[in-house]
Amino acid sequence: MKLISLLVVSVLFSSPFVSADSEKKGLAIAVEIDKRDTGFGDTTANMTMLLKNRHGQESTRYIRLRTLEVKGDGDKSMSIFDRPRDVKGTAFLSYTHKQGSDDQWLYLPALKRVKRISSRNKSGSFMGSEFAYEDISSQEVEKYTYKYLKDEACGVDTCFVIERDPVDELSGYTRQVAWINKKEYRPEKIDFYDRKNTLLKTLTYRDYQQYRGQFWRANEMFMENHQTGKTTLLKWSNYKFGTGLSARDFNKNSLKRAR
């Protein structure tokens, strides 16, 4: 009896990690997430970052974001910094690609200089926050391999729990475990495991709102670093879809006059 239950338990726990079915199902979930978020065209939004360290000291950043959906490739995006005030006017232009490294330019307003920068710094901190560049850049299906793990209750809904492993060896993570809302195919929570496979951070999505009857955007994203005790709260506001942005609004000239 004992032996049988042990056998059942071991089968239950080991099978999802080895079966090709779990990989297929994981990928299917990722493809469905991507499909449901396809067709947004372009968006603009305001973002407030609230950084808090272990001692409770806070600092704030204000950033405005513009995103353009690119058919057949990763999105183009521009981030414009309003605060802290010493970096006001600094702007960041990024062309993400499904394959190969992204193209990135930084505009420094004091010198009026546009600098092409290396996009290899994926695991680096974005603006001193707990978000790495790879956490905030366009999430393309091709950037991970997937495994479906299980179903689990998440709040009032049920979630798929999937593991996604970054394809890029420069990623700061060995794996991420994501809770995906089964009904809406949107992430509710992601655990990030560092290069030593230790739990590093947890990202929680809160207060989802649906736009244009299709696109879900969280009003708050809360990242907690379990190793340092630091947290970053992203608050989104003023989301707009279909504002008429085009590729012309995502080039070096528009970067120079970004406001």
């Binding site: 950084l51 600092s59 695991s123 000239n253 006059r257």
Partner: protein, 396 residues
């Protein structure tokens, strides 16, 4: 001239009202303390000094940013050097953006180039030398700028009326040539003098990992040559601004952790045609020692085919630098570098560091050391001007 432009711009602003954003002001006020480690070369030159500077920017836009107006005045009040005390309109311009072209009229600032140690290609704006010897601070330039965006790249056309003279420290100022520059009596090769209208054109584009710019400037040289003159028993330098033609190329290849850079110019009009170049790389190491700290290693070779006759001290020099970005909440940064003359071993070392304090304050540290300067090197005039400066700035 400037007043007339201001009136035109204000008029345009009021006549194009529509879906206007609220105008907004931002900027900073800074206090600077500079200390020199040695007695000056000339007893007339001052010692430690303090100064105050401020820059404000007013920005307003219409039609969702298709039309915009920008006004950026700057002022410095220096405790010792009356010529370092100055006021300048960095920007006062109006921009109109269309589908594939845009127009900027007024006083503006433009940067061209890719390298770190010197900026050969950057030529539109005059250097505000009293602000910093690194040549990165610029005076506002009156311009009409027309930009086209095409699939094959961006084209910028410039008309540049109203030449600005380079600023220089006064006779009592530090970091000056051994004979002081007589700013009030500049001479021009062109009979039109300061009224000569300069022109420039630039094509730039990115393809894949490559960013490239090709430019041509025709007009009054931003960099003067000097004629020594005896004035009341003292030698002074009269700046001579010649009419030049400068063609240039700037190139950057972004290959993973390596940025490969080249700036190349060919200039005629100041004696024989000459060629100068800066070429090198920046290599980045991310998250060193399992921390959040990034380290950039920079190496550039500085060349001028006029050799010893070059108007800059960098004719056969090597720049080595390191850039540290701590990536903390305070955005702490450090850039340390050294330029060595490969012929005579003269060395300039510099350190720049900064960090934010709270949300609105920033502290900047800058130091420069001139060592082993050869008597024939043009840096010899700075030989005793090793300095360190601390600046505390409040942003609004």
């Amino acid at each position: 001239m400037w007043l007339r432009v201001l009136f035109i711009l204000v008029f345009i602003n009021h006549s194009t009202l529509g879906s206007a954003s609220d105008g907004e002001w931002s900027g900073y006020i800074a206090a600077e303390w500079r200390t020199f480690f040695e007695s000056p070369t000339d007893v007339a030159q001052h010692g430690d000094t303090t100064s105050l500077s401020a820059q404000a920017e007013y920005y307003r836009e219409w039609e969702g940013g298709k039309k915009s107006f920008r006004f950026t005045p700057f002022v410095r009040i220096d405790g010792r050097d009356s010529q370092r005390s100055h006021f300048d309109i960095r920007e006062l311009n109006w921009t109109s953006v269309h589908d594939d072209w845009e127009l900027t009229a007024g006083i503006g600032k433009v940067f061209w180039g890719v390298t770190e140690s010197q900026h050969l290609v950057d030529i539109i704006n005059q250097t505000d030398l009293v602000e910093s010897t690194d040549g990165e601070e610029k005076l506002g330039q009156l311009m009409l700028k027309l930009s086209f965006t095409r699939d094959w790249g961006d084209v910028d056309l410039f008309l540049l009326p109203g030449f600005r003279e380079r600023t220089f420290p006064s006779r009592i100022g530090r970091l000056r040539s051994i004979a002081a520059v007589d700013v009030g009596h500049a001479e021009y090769a062109s009979s039109q003098g300061q009224d000569h209208i300069d022109a420039a054109v630039r094509w730039s584009t990115s393809f894949g990992d490559w960013d490239v710019g090709v430019s041509h400037f025709s007009g009054t040289s931003r960099e003067p040559r000097f004629r020594p003159e005896l004035n009341g028993g003292r030698t002074i330098l009269i700046p001579i601004y010649e009419t030049i033609d400068q063609s240039s190329l700037d190139l950057q290849a972004t290959k993973d952790d390596w940025l490969w850079k080249l700036e190349l110019i060919s200039r005629s009009g100041q004696g024989d045609r000459y060629t100068a170049a800066t070429a090198g790389f920046e290599y980045s190491l991310y998250g060193i020692f399992e921390s959040s700290v990034d380290l950039g290693i920079i190496a550039e070779y500085l060349y001028d085919d006029r050799k010893e006759a070059a108007s800059t001290p960098f004719e056969d020099d090597l720049f080595l630098g390191a850039r540290l970005a701590i990536n903390d909440e305070a955005s702490s940064e450090l850039l340390a570098g050294m330029i060595v003359d490969l012929d005579n071993n003269s060395r300039v070392m510099s350190v720049e560091a900064s960090r934010r304090i709270g949300d609105n304050w920033k502290i900047n540290l800058e130091a420069r050391f001139f060592s082993n300067i050869d008597n024939k090197d043009s840096l010899v005039s700075f030989e005793n001007d090793d300095f360190m400066q601390l600046e505390l700035a409040w942003y609004f």
